[in-house]
Symmetry: C2
Amino acid sequence: MPEFLELASPEKALNTFLDLVPHSPEAVRIRTEEALGRVLLNDVVAPSPLPPFARTTVDGYAVRASDTFGASASMPGYLKIAGEILMGTDPELEVGEGQAVLIHTGGMLPPGASAVVMIEDTQAVDDEEIEVLKPVADGQNVLQEGEDVQPGEVVIQAGTRIRVQEIGGLMALGFIEVEVAEAPRVAILSTGDEVVPPAEEPVPGQVRDINSYTLSALVERAGGKPVRYGIIPDNAVDLEAIARQAHSEHHMMLITAGSSVSERDITADVIAKLGEPGILVHGIALRPGKPTILSISDGVPVVGLPGNPVSAVVVAGLFVLPAIRRLQGIRGPEWSATLQASLKTNVSSVSGREDWLPCRLVVTPDGLEAEPVFGRSNLIFTLVRADGLVRIPAASTGLKAGEKVEVRLF
Amino acid sequence: MPEFLELASPEKALNTFLDLVPHSPEAVRIRTEEALGRVLLNDVVAPSPLPPFARTTVDGYAVRASDTFGASASMPGYLKIAGEILMGTDPELEVGEGQAVLIHTGGMLPPGASAVVMIEDTQAVDDEEIEVLKPVADGQNVLQEGEDVQPGEVVIQAGTRIRVQEIGGLMALGFIEVEVAEAPRVAILSTGDEVVPPAEEPVPGQVRDINSYTLSALVERAGGKPVRYGIIPDNAVDLEAIARQAHSEHHMMLITAGSSVSERDITADVIAKLGEPGILVHGIALRPGKPTILSISDGVPVVGLPGNPVSAVVVAGLFVLPAIRRLQGIRGPEWSATLQASLKTNVSSVSGREDWLPCRLVVTPDGLEAEPVFGRSNLIFTLVRADGLVRIPAASTGLKAGEKVEVRLF
């Protein structure tokens, strides 16, 4: 379709844009216990080994492995009980030849011992002696000092988003505070003379503002700090004044354009004036989202989003979220959650344009099915009824019922 | 393996437990803009239609469709321009026979009009007249009143977790406040005489507390409110006193047992005493996670988790998260994020036991590969190095390199 030849492909648009999105965030120091979802700014280097000492992984007896060689149920080995290792204490006992020391899972291996015989593989003779019914090799049932982490090792790389396990790892090494990326402040401006705040009762001809709130929620979910400017009147003077102020005070700015051509033109003109290099992409071979504008203005990413609420959410997912990740200094991939399903109905598409189709997931006896949500795609409850989006590549002219698709969860 | 015959399967354990987890949370009223991730307690019924009036989806002219029938580029129809619909206003004009009214995307269709001709399909004759180059059918380029939502329709069901689009839908209908489930308060108790708080420098034999913090983060991520009780000494008297108090003040309780058999026995005894019906499951055919305890004590779910940090995280993902969802009143499935990959190496497993294997995702020219994270599975940095878990079903004795697996992302 010649219509799409002048439009950037979504992939090229994203790369052109991301290349110029800054990725050296300011640092803030916070408590590790509050760091879930934040992005680490520096490599974490282990100051000490983990485990910090050799530990037993079973309940049993710490022994010299060589003392158990050849032991069996019919020919047990005999060892003298030389004491017990109490949890959380530094053992003062040393395990000598022919000796065994009672030890509990996680306990510190005493000097002299090279392995642990499981309690199930022993039998008490009396209070002073046990029979060993099975041999152990050197190191058996023992976690060696530093087996998880060696001192000086980079255990978590700069640019990692902190998950549950990173919190655990940091705590294990004693890092109760960490330096993370400041949350990018993202200004959100809505335009449209027909748009009123949700608290107002719209008169005929008016509709309530949706975009300010869906975009705020998306920004927040990605780790940014949304700052809502509300609804700006659709004239170039007011919009430019407010956009300039918002641009100067934030790390990123989103403007949802009014839906008419003249409103979109005003938005584009204002974005073009904000700074250098200015608009990088204007128009993408994408549905929904064709009129999207991607700009970098004096180091601040500015995205002009379609006014239609569904388009705004889809475009924000494709272009705004990756930019917020980069603003936070994230390196490496972040896996987006998908589910495999088979498409329930035929879906047609125009070649040359990438489509994102809202689908509902349905569990059937034959597996998961992705059912396209019917109804016009620019209505917000279309997305409420959907579990995710299916991508129809630009090269495709449609997908067939029964075809395997990846549903990208919201 | 006879060892597993007495153990509950993970699926049966979960169902037995969840059946008795309460699911009638208290309501709290909050602002919709702060409701992301919270759970709606009541059906949302549309008070008014959406769109609230018939709107044009294009820039063009509102017309009577019948006036355009037969129009073509070579034989255009002629219509008189009767005015313009301004955005956000109730049109006072009526479109009569032979008339056209200029209208912008999203504008309210004026009375008399039945369709909109796209601006591209018209040509101005002068300021007063246009040529129509293409016919439109009734309703073409128009969103009808109520096409997204009819008044009285249940648009979001009780028990739905609020995503970005639900915030948009609520705002579109003017619901600036919503009733959501109170966040379940979850008490977290760690035991283990060898465990010290992360801020302390452990002496030989001691290790830092990891579980309190990973479990807090998991609870928070699921929508609960973690309340940490810190490290409780490993004796029945102290543990029982603190557990009784925590149990009486929270919606749920997690106790990580010490790692030795005697410590685990103390934990089990204390959990058994807390209330009726008591322990439902003790021991699951699962690795990691075999010693898990699932209990309901006087309406409060209590989970005894293995002390090993990796086991605690895996078990919490499988049993604690679903319980927290149910405590919040969630109905219907929540899709867990997975990615398809091919397994990089052979992995063996014991038949009769379900295994969860930490894997790293690697992008290769042949697609995504899941590489099992080497090293002992009970070390926290094993999980830091992993992107997700691969489930090896109980019936399987292992998986082969190249096999397609689902990686459940953390």
